[in-house]
Amino acid sequence: MADSDDDIEIIKVDKPKKTPMKWVTSTFDDFSSDFMSSQPKSQKSFTSSQNKSKTQSSSQNVSNTQPSLSQPANSRKRPRETKNSLKQIASGRQRSKFKSTMELWADIHQPKTKADLAVHKKKIEEVENWIIQSISNNKMGKMLLMTGPAGAGKTATVKVLSEELNLELQEWSNPDQNSNQQFTLSSQDYWEQSRVDIITSGSQQSQFENFLLRANKYQSLQIEEGSGGGKTISHTAGKLILLEFSVIMPHVIPLFCFQEFPNIYLRDNVLFHQLLRRYYKVGHSPLIFIVSDSSRGESKERQLFPPDLQQELYIHNISFNPVAPTMMVKVLNKIVSQQSSQVSGSPSLSIIESISMSSAGDIRSGINALQFACRTDTFDLNSTISQSKPKKSGKTSASRLKYESSKKQDGGKRTEEELGGIGARDTSCFLFHAIGKILYSKRDDPSTYTELPRLPPHLQHEERDPLLLQPEDVVEKSQISGDYFASFLHHNYVDFYTNIDDVVNASEYFSLIDTFSSQWNTKTVLENYATSLASRGVIHCNTSIARYNSPRTGVGWKPLHKSQWFNVQKQSKKNASVACSLFKGYHWEPEVLWTEILPYLNRINITLRNPAQINFLQEMGRFCRRETYIRNEKLNEHEVVDMDDSEMTSLPVSINTDQSGSDMISNSQSEVKNTPVEDDEEEVEIEEFNDSD
């Protein structure tokens, strides 16, 4: 709903009438007249966009308090909704009523204060410190890269902080490929800000460049005026946001179809890097990039911000963790209490908990699921959920929450099943974590289980305590093929074993799975069994972790590595074909050529006419003699997550501990403690206002 409003709303000068009409009907019933009347006031009345009106209001009314007053109600997570939020800024004063059924709760209940944020305090502090520092000291790095999974509260954090620090946010998002109107709007916005008339026909790229470099140029002017321009160009894949002191944040949301990346910089990151360098030289204002990562997003982020560039431009990196379940429950409960007047029946605690569990740390999807669960027409779904609850409810009590999340496979699976209808988020985990989960697999105290089958005496040594995870689920969530997974597992498992006899058993499992998963005609069917067998085999055979309370002495943190097999195979194939083509004249059988002819050719100084042959022979004659052969690249886990996560088996757990513990922030960048400028009273006021709604 809101999205479609946005689209329509962004309209050229020629049809100004249409815009207000449209969204008036949806959200701002009683605001339309005011808004319309405000238009003529504006000097630059060639556009009717709310963005503009917002800019005007901020620039002309010169009210610094206004943004902090109104924006909290509107600060958004979704980039595209920002415009919408801007409308609300204007409308906020009119005290227009939300139509709760029309509006997403995720939008209504935007966090307004730092206390509202479902982000760990230290993270917020870290970001805040950076902003303050970078503003006060221009010599410092001017760019901040924020990463984290979608819905972790990155954008919300920046928005809230910008409010509290009395900065204004400027954001850029690319024009829609297929929407010329939007395109125009963005450039209009830009003109507005820079007060330079530019012909609209510039490419997206040049627009962006202009925006970045020129907005910066004219920034001082605006500061004198005590205001900053807000400007929004939205494109499907990314956006930038400028804070008032011109903090810019491009928000790159990895989408699943790649043709949806219209931004030239995603294709040509060299251009992007050049631009960043230029900005680094001329820019004054801090620049914040927000990159949501998905399981595939990493490469994008790496391309856009390679480590060397980060170093060169002093780009600071802050990574966000998924929202912790406890936080999520808190937020959801609050929303429910606020919304209780409108919903037909408030969901039970257990439903909220299961929602928070299934949303896997994505607070936006959690809120959406909650709203969906509370709708009148879908409310009957809850009954089915609550029916299935009892068997689990004992475990799900708040005190068991942490335990529950560590048993994600157990609890998470069930909730997923239950909440299938309420839009549970598709949980996935990175390969690094998946492998970690298998290798560090945790077991449960058998005494908590009443009916555990016992093994007969002669099999006592095979007995293991029950697992806390289902290996199959882990593999499934890792989103790679079982074959690949098994290979990675194979590459890493030996490190976790202390006894050679255990290794024999485990390696036997690997050998076995290869025999039955390599047949091409049965591979698709058997692959799942093979991976299951491999992961379970690895877990089972490691006798040092057979019991839930095993000392686990040898199982400290160990780096994981990428599987070498595929490289080896590739290299060997390449060498083989090169050998065959270079020494075709000898027409030996390949095996004879590799094992006998080539090694001796190296020793018999026969006149080889072909330099390629000579090079190849030298290369093949070289063997790696190092005793400690450096294994292949380390398996890079995702940046977001601290290294200990894999050790702690489950993602939510580590976040949970982060809540209370201090081990979360790996690289706290600044010691400067800063008391944020906040207008608590005002914020509270608004909150109340929302409550009353």
């Binding site: 050679i500 027409h587 018999i604 026969i606």
Partner: protein
Amino acid sequence: MSLWVDKHRPSQLHKLDYHKQQAANLKKLIASGDLPHLLVYGPSGAGKKTRITCILRELYGAGAEKLRIEQSHFTTPSNKKIEISTIASNYHIEVNPSDVGNNDRIVIQELIKNLAQVNQLDSSSQKEFKVVVLTEVDRLTKDAQHGLRRTMEKYMATCRLILCCNSTSKVIPAIRSRCLGVRVAAPSEEEIAQILQNVCKKEGCTLPAELAKRIANKSNRNLRRALLMCEACKVQQYPFSADQTISEPDWEIYLRDTATMIVQQQSPKRLLEVRARLYELLTHCIPADVIIKGLLQELLANCDGQLKTEVVQAAAYYDHRLQIGQKAIYHLEAFVAKFMAIYKQFLDEGMADFF
């Protein structure tokens, strides 16, 4: 610039140095005018290819020695283009179908069909058939082998097959029964030493009998290897001395070091080091079955009698797995781990007895 192995390869049946009786039989067979399909098998370096070229020469005369390398192109039913290089004369074509992996059936069938559809131009003065030489038949897929057996019968009128492989155990019985088996046993060490002497004489250098014997011994009754070793020795040091070192391929030395590492220590950590070395070997195109064989040989040297059976059994087990599976490293590593466990247990028992 050719190697001694190529240069001094006998090209006629009566010039062969050993298995003279067999050569005579082959000669008689060819003289009879017709030739059955042949399946030539025997260990590596025994002289299979030499005998095949001799047979061709006997069949077609010197014309069979004018070889050219050609690239043949085939298209699979799924429209995949495959390319394979063949060595051909006017009378025969030699191909190694295992080069193309899983598509070998198409290659075999198409190739034979193409060749067999064209009759010899002048069949009065020549044989009525052409010959297709298939090497490494034991590496053919089952699919290809079954395809082959139909093709063999269908084009019997215009085409004969000479199959060449190391072991018939991987050739399906249907093919074995369609061919006349010719076993080429490895030459004895004396024969190898004699051949080395002859070759050196032709090259104009003198080889001490002692060194010839040592080379023959070291070559593991592989004549090709013996000749290569001899030539390498000559490059290394000439005139020869009886006790000069005989160079071995790098990978064998590397493999031996690896085996030593395994024997020295049995721990998961060592297993990782061994794995790295196995990867290194695989990268250098050393086939996995050669690796496991070499390892076994080296490891057995460190084993006691009753241990040997156990180790050999493990090796056989994982060698079999190697044949069925695809990821060689899984099986190689499993074998190494198994050996480590067996050996460790043996050592521990030995220690217990000692005290």
